[in-house]
Amino acid sequence: MIKKYLPPLPQVIIIVFIIILLGLAIKIDIPASSLINDLFIRLILNCVLVISLIPMVNSGAGLNFGLPIGAVAGLLGMVITAQFGGKGLTGFLLSIAVSIPFAAASGTVYGHMLNRVKGREEIAATFTGFSIVSIMCLFWVVAPFTHPQMIWVLGGSGLRNTIGLRGFWEKSLYNLMQFKAGDIIIPAGSLLFIGIIIISLYFFSRTRTGMMMNAAGENESFARINGVNIEKIRKLSVIMSTVLASAGTCIYAQQYGFIELYSAPLMAAFPAISALLLGGSSGKRVFLRHAILGVILYQSLYLLSLPVANILLVPEMAEIIRMIVTSFIILYALAKKSEERGDV
């Protein structure tokens, strides 16, 4: 019975690892304030992307390996807004608003597809995501965008690989209501914005639809007997996840300062999934606190490995550790899930 209260193995390993890295960081005199500031930034970058996975998990549609679909919708919303001269905070909010219809439309089709491959969603979603990203590569080349800051200087057409958001809405949310407490920068506007998303998701889970969604994920046949239209509710959860993923992408680009097109969103699903799993959700339901804890753990690991990697004169090391950790966590979770279902 004690076993039930122990945190899962990856979480233990990661926490031990973080403590070691933290010790190293203190030893090489990295100021705590800069670490906290960076953690806030990384939290803003990734939080909504990780949260976007939750509706699908809770409705039983599985981890959203098709997250790039939402990401692409977000990119589309941003380039359209930038093309028409969106600027500042309004530009940022507009980019989310513009991407929502695209995300909702593609989410509908994607959700329909996922209903047809029930039980094997992961692999089908992965390759649907890959396909969408690669066909959008064609779109970015031929789309009739004309804004000089977005298209290639030579040739005069085709969107650039990375579009700088300086002069558009770079860090507009980050700078909103930002204040300093000593050396620590508190991005109150961003935290408020993410907080609103979290609170509205929480209240959604309390509505009738939200409860039906959780019921569908927890016990499908029981929910079906009680009159829940499983296919419809799952599709709704996919749409929600896709829309949230597109909003998350807009927030990411705003904070990062660049829109990254072409193959950039290809692997976007894996770190987000890994962070959510690291949050330690047990069983079929995921709570918002799992997502937030997961992001904090996952990102502090990345953050702390950066300076250590630089000392070793191998700056790529942080990214390598992240790659190994990401895939290890997902593999662990896959095996654990199969064990629980009694497949072995």
């Binding site: 094997r120 649907t128 396909s131 191998v314 090391m317 190994i324 990401t326 895939s327 199969s338």
Partner: protein, 347 residues
């Protein structure tokens, strides 16, 4: 009843259209396709046995590919010249991929039913470990014998290493030229031998075990087959074959892009196999061979076709990666749906 698989026809049609617009000479394309058959065949053959054993497309063949790269780097590090170097690279690659295949197979036994997504993630994990060994470890905790490989910072291997000591040793063996078409018969015989080996394996009792494990695991267990062991064997064979395939691939190219050469080898091999008419449940040598010809003809002509139609070569490149991803996605969705319908009928 056999269902007609439209994939080969679709790819043939696309290739012909792209070839028409590319304005390339048939001779050039033929020679290129011959090179691709030699480079890619073994990597595609590597996929056949896991499919037969019911494990789906094995995306972790990139682990085998990385084992091959490790083998080459090992030989370059020790500076073993000539044919001995080639053999040494192959042997050390086989050794690594055998162990990796065993580990992957054992893991996949714990995630039955989701092997494909697992192999994708295993590929990422493997790439991470591979980068850690060669970008961080080489020159620090792994002693470097050949300073030419080392990055100037003293740790890690350079992005690109030359295989000059091994270039054209076996590629140009028994080279026959028939009115401009170059046929390297020695390399063809290697490909043919590998094809024959896979075919023979599938005809032996071991092959029947693979098939039994693939079609119905419970029935196979009841008839006394250890399916777990069978599946591990399938992964070992697949990984070793992929390693040999990458040894040939790199030897033919003549250099190793240490950190990128393995990338996409899984996707393009799977797409080629599916283009030849294979499914996720059934794959044969003829699917692999036909698929390589069709997929790579398309692969060769699309950039030029894109250049000529839209005056943009990069468009053709994006198009072909879309075709690769798209064909895998469609094959997956169709296959999973078929399976579910079958299950529904059984119930």
């Amino acid at each position: 009843m056999r269902k007609f698989n439209p994939a080969p026809l679709f790819f043939a049609l696309l290739s012909i259209i792209a070839f028409y617009y590319s304005d390339m000479s048939l001779l050039f394309v033929t020679n290129e396709v011959i090179i691709r058959i030699i480079r890619d065949s073994l990597l595609v053959f590597a996929l056949i046995i896991p499919v037969t054993a019911g494990m789906g497309l094995n995306f972790s063949i990139i682990i085998g590919a990385m084992a091959a790269q490790a083998g080459w780097i090992f030989m370059l590090d020790l500076q073993v010249p000539g044919i001995r170097g080639i053999a040494g690279a192959a042997l050390s690659g086989i050794f690594i991929s055998f162990i990796c295949g065993y580990i992957i197979g054992s893991y996949l036994n714990r995630v039955k039913g989701r092997e494909m997504i697992a192999t994708i993630i295993i590929g990422i994990l493997g790439a991470g470990i591979y980068q850690f060994i060669f970008l961080v470890g080489y020159g620090t905790f792994i002693p470097a014998h050949n300073s030419e490989l080392l990055l100037s910072r003293g740790a890690g291997i350079r992005d690109m290493v030359d295989l000059a000591p091994y270039r054209n040793i076996i590629d140009r063996l028994w080279l026959v030229d028939i009115s401009g078409i170059q046929l390297p018969l020695f390399m063809f015989s290697i490909v043919a031998a590998a094809a024959l080996a896979v075919k023979l394996i599938l005809l032996t009792p071991a092959g029947q075990r693979f098939r039994a494990a693939g079609s119905d695991r419970v029935a196979a267990e009841l008839s006394g087959i250890n399916t777990d062991r069978t599946r591990i064997q399938a992964m070992i064979i697949s990984t070793v074959l992929a390693c040999l395939g990458q040894i040939i691939f790199l030897q033919n190219i003549g250099m190793v892009n240490v950190y990128t050469a393995h990338m996409n080898s899984d996707i393009f091999s799977c797409a080629a196999l599916l283009a030849g008419g294979a499914t996720i449940k059934e794959a044969k040598i003829r699917h692999a061979l036909l698929g390589i010809v069709l997929f790579h003809s398309l692969y060769i002509v699309t950039p030029q076709a894109g250049q000529n139609i839209f005056s943009n070569a990069v468009l053709g490149e994006y198009f072909r990666s879309f075709i690769a991803y798209g064909s895998i996605a469609i094959a997956l969705i169709i296959n999973i749906r078929h399976e579910r319908e079958k299950q529904g009928r059984l119930q």
